[in-house]
């Protein structure tokens, strides 16, 4: 095991896959000479040269489409969005081209590529640069949506995403880039579509992805101090969702809280709650609770921003409510 950052883990994943497969290339804004806006692609231009690590103009729709066409022609593009906020400009290519090409062509063309970049809330950057859009992506058949919560998962999942034969939406977390964690030294892949139990417990299931996994683990520590034993599940892949792991946990704890940074309306928590209700209804001793971002654009002022995001305290409170301890 080595201790490395989340951004280094992503960098290792891309470098290893580019060494393994010369069809893989990285393209995006500032990925080459600048070494990445968040330094995820540090050193990659030197290692792989300008043909495989390519700076683009600021033109998200265009280079997203470039990735789609290149993937259809047999390459394995990694298209980096500096942040997912800017991917909104590229939605036509992601939703109407990448996701549907295989179906529309009756299986003749597939689009094996990764769209990746920073998502979720950042710090003090206001409404347009701080939001979670994974539910938009996860709504679309044909896409897979992956959101790692720690360095080891980030590396193993990104390698799997690059090797996957479908279009993978890989949403990293802007605030997690500097997080340090233990990563295996030997090569490993984490298969897509497999949730991970990050903490075992018997009283309540906390389901949380991306940065919220860390919040849920913190909340579990506080709950333990209060005599509540929480299990924390990180779906890791939002679509397809490993609902079996979640349901097995709920069958054991009989209570669930779903946590997400994104907006509540039609969010990931709504989907997970519905699935627990549909298939785990008889296991529930209380309604599923949701802790989500507040239903407002992200404000700038520090106090308002903190209020807009889910907090550890809110998760603790929700868990107490579903456990009848509020």
């Amino acid at each position: 095991m080595s201790k490395i950052t989340y951004r280094e883990a992503l960098n290792q994943a891309m470098c290893e896959e580019m060494e393994r497969d010369d069809r893989v290339f990285l393209m995006g804004e500032e990925v080459a000479e600048y070494n990445g806006a968040y330094k995820v692609s540090q050193g990659m231009l030197d290692k792989f040269g300008p043909k495989r690590v390519i700076d683009t103009p600021i033109t998200e729709l265009g280079f997203a489409g470039l990735g789609v066409g290149a993937a259809m022609a047999g390459l394995r593009p990694i298209i980096e969005f500096m942040t997912w906020n800017f991917a909104i400009l590229a939605l036509d290519q992601i939703v109407n081209a990448a996701a549907k090409m295989k179906y529309m062509s009756g299986g003749q063309y597939s689009v094996p590529m990764v769209f990746r970049g920073a998502g979720g809330s950042a710090a003090r950057v206001g409404a347009q640069h701080s939001q979670s859009l994974e539910n938009w992506m996860a709504n679309v058949p044909g896409l897979k949506v992956v959101m790692p919560s720690n360095p080891a998962d980030a590396k193993g999942l990104l390698k799997a995403a690059i090797r996957d034969n479908d279009t993978v939406i890989f949403i990293e977390n802007e605030i997690n880039y500097g997080d340090v964690g233990e990563v295996p030294d030997e090569e490993y892949i984490i298969p897509l579509g497999k949730a991970d139990v990050k903490r075992t417990g018997s009283d309540v299931t906390l389901v949380a992805h991306s940065r919220m996994t860390g919040f849920a683990l913190e909340a579990a520590e506080e709950l333990a101090r209060q005599g509540i034993d929480a299990e924390v599940i990180d779906p890791r892949t939002i679509r397809p969702l490993d609902e079996n792991t979640i349901l097995a946990s709920v069958a054991k704890t009989n209570r669930a809280v779903v946590i997400e940074e994104g907006w509540r309306f039609a969010g990931i928590g709504a989907e997970i709650s519905a699935r627990i209700m549909e298939r785990g209804f008889d296991d529930l001793d209380a309604p599923v609770a949701r802790v989500t971002g507040k239903d407002v654009p992200m404000p700038y002022a520090a106090n308002l921003e903190a209020m807009a995001l889910p907090s550890v305290a809110e998760i603790v409170e929700a868990a107490r409510v579903v456990c009848g301890r509020a």
Binding site: G62, F63, G65, Y109, D166
Partner: protein
Amino acid sequence: MSAKQKQAAGITHDGVFYPLEDLNAMHDSMLYIRRFEEKAGQLYGLKKIGGFCHLCNGQEAVCVGLHHAADEKDYILTSYRDHGHVLARGSDPTAVMAELLGRAGGIVKGKGGSMHMFDVERNFVGGNGIVGEQVPVGLGLGFSSWYKDDGRVTIAIMGDGGINQGAVYESFNMAALWKLPIVFMVENNQYAMGTSLDRASAETHLFKRGISFKIPGMQIDGMDVLEFDKKMGEAIAHARSGEGPILVEAITYRYRGHSMSDPATYRSRAEVDEWRSGRDPIARLEAQMIEAGLATEEEFKQRDKDIKKDVTAVARAAEAQPEPDASELWTDVYTDPIEGAYPYPVKVG
């Protein structure tokens, strides 16, 4: 003229010799597309073809000239007005008609319909339904040829409506920046749905739209198949030479409305007649061939009868096919579906 004489015969257009065999093939391909589209229109009227259906009557010389000029290995992709292009590319007409009818043997298994014809074996990359969407995808196909150095050219086709999309200029910029082997081709049929060119475009000479990206432009008469083939050949050679992309504007006209639901009341009957009777690409080639003593009016009449018969037989064969099997609903969404996680379980109770 004896058969031997005819074989040696042909037409020289602007320094290029077109042997009779090629002329016949181009003529028959254009006429086939015309009759195929008429049949599609008829079946649409009978409600056997559903949804949107965009016919290309009038634009046949562009389809046939392009596909005559392009190599088999080249990538071609276009918008939703795609029947003519996929037929000119050599795809099975029964599969194309079956697709229009939503049948199991459709070229994309009945999953795409009129707007989404694909044929991977012929490097025909759609059939794309969002105006201009195919242009960045074409940029990527061109990029792949640059990356792999495979000698292919991509011909990314759009209409005079599509060229106003921002995605097109993003693509122009990157294609020129990296000198990608792409021919951007605008089928200027004078109307973007119901909006005439001069109501939608500040610069109506669309071949000039690449100037600020240093992309050279060519305007070609798209109602003359020989002229179009020759000039398109030059454009493709330019792209293949490594000098970067080129923009081709094909001047053409669609005889029918934008789609089957459009009665085209935004233009005069006289205007349509002027193009149909004065510039029709099929009549033009026939006149040239008759003039050169390569065919007679009677022969063309007979070929038209034969082609109509072929198209009718194709439509019958396609109609006789079953609808896609219900299991097809769930296939081709993912290449690597994940066991237990997809398809989403829809069982109730």
